[in-house]
């Protein structure tokens, strides 16, 4: 492997400020076939104990594509070297396929419309395995969404597999 594990583990790969707006939350619920009125009707959300429309469980994974506003983004945390892009580029140069292998969410607090959260992503592991004579490389990234107090709200782990 041209990129070594110890070179990349712990390296930040992205940071963003993400706005959670009601429209995208409701559209996402509809897109995963969820017809729960909690995602559509503020009265239903309030009756269920929320202050605002809550986010469906997997929404944070998509949230930055729908709630990243150019004017209030934090500085690039990579120091000019994005190790995830470097790892992926070196793997893709060997050919083969990149697959989304695993996804994990840990929920600390509910996410609701109106929230503005900070998103920080870093590499937490890089390793290889042999499967049926083929080399597989696993790249694991962790993303933490945190509130203004710096408290974690949702933690995601994202596992990409490169299969030769």
């Amino acid at each position: 492997m041209p990129v070594q594990r110890e070179d990349v583990v712990g390296k930040p790969i992205a940071a963003a400020k993400v706005h959670f707006e009601r429209g995208p939350l409701s559209a996402f619920a509809a897109a995963v076939t969820d017809d729960n009125p909690i995602y559509r009707n503020l009265d239903a959300a309030r009756a269920a104990g929320f202050d605002q429309i809550p986010a469906p469980p997997t929404f944070t994974f998509a949230a930055s594509s729908r709630g990243t506003f150019a004017e209030d983004q934090p500085p690039d945390p990579t120091g000019g070297r994005n190790y995830m892009e470097e790892v992926m580029a070196s793997l893709m140069a060997e050919g083969g396929l990149v697959l989304h292998g695993e996804q994990e969410f840990t929920y600390h607090k509910p996410v609701q419309a109106g929230d503005v959260l900070r998103k920080d992503s870093k590499i937490i592991d890089l390793y290889e395995k042999e499967s049926k004579g083929r080399k597989m490389t696993f790249l694991v990234m962790e993303t933490v969404f945190s509130d203004d107090a710096g408290e974690p709200v949702v933690t995601e782990r994202f596992n990409l597999i490169h299969r030769k």
């Binding site: 995208p24 559209a27 996402f28 509809a30 897109a31 995963v32 076939t33 969820d34 729960n36 909690i38 995602y39 309030r46 009756a47 269920a48 104990g49 929320f50 202050d51 809550p54 469906p56 469980p57 997997t58 994974f61 998509a62 594509s65 729908r66 697959l99 989304h100 292998g101 695993e102 996804q103 994990e104 969410f105 840990t106 929920y107 509910p110 782990r157």
Partner: protein
């Protein structure tokens, strides 16, 4: 929060219990809708011409669509806002025309950090019983 969030009854849930099944026949329209709502515009999910040129029989489903569908079954059962942990492995691709069904089976319960947690294995299966996604979840009960 004004009202308590609806929760499962910790006492009434037992190992081996199954959550109500959610079934969904996957369509190409679902994939287009998910692409738009998520921002994942990988053409392998939405562009049949490009998918066939890449050697695939058709477009295939986003793994995160499957995880979202299974997440809906979890929140239908345990109440929105009660998920503590949710993790899956994507084991097989999903294809338009397949009927995808959720399977959520309670594996245990216990108190952790002052919360009453119910743990379950979760799967999304096609009409032939092939697992597309498998994993586990923990939900907070009352």
């Amino acid at each position: 929060m004004a009202n308590p969030v609806k929760k499962l009854s910790y006492e009434e849930v037992s190992e081996g219990d199954e959550a109500p099944v959610v079934s969904h026949a996957l369509t190409r329209t679902d994939l287009v809708a998910y692409a738009g709502a998520s921002g994942d515009l990988n053409p392998m999910h939405t562009d049949e011409v490009a998918a066939k040129q890449a050697g695939l029989p058709s477009v295939f489903g986003h793994g995160m669509f499957s995880m979202g569908l299974l997440g809906r079954a979890l929140t239908d059962w345990a109440g929105v806002g009660n998920l503590a942990e949710y993790r899956v492995r994507f084991t097989k691709q999903t294809w338009p025309g397949e009927v995808l069904s959720t399977r959520i089976v309670v594996t245990g319960k216990g108190e952790e950090d002052g919360r009453k947690l119910i743990r379950a294995d979760v799967e999304l299966l096609n009409q032939e019983g092939e697992a597309k996604v498998s994993g586990s979840a923990a939900v907070v009960a009352g």
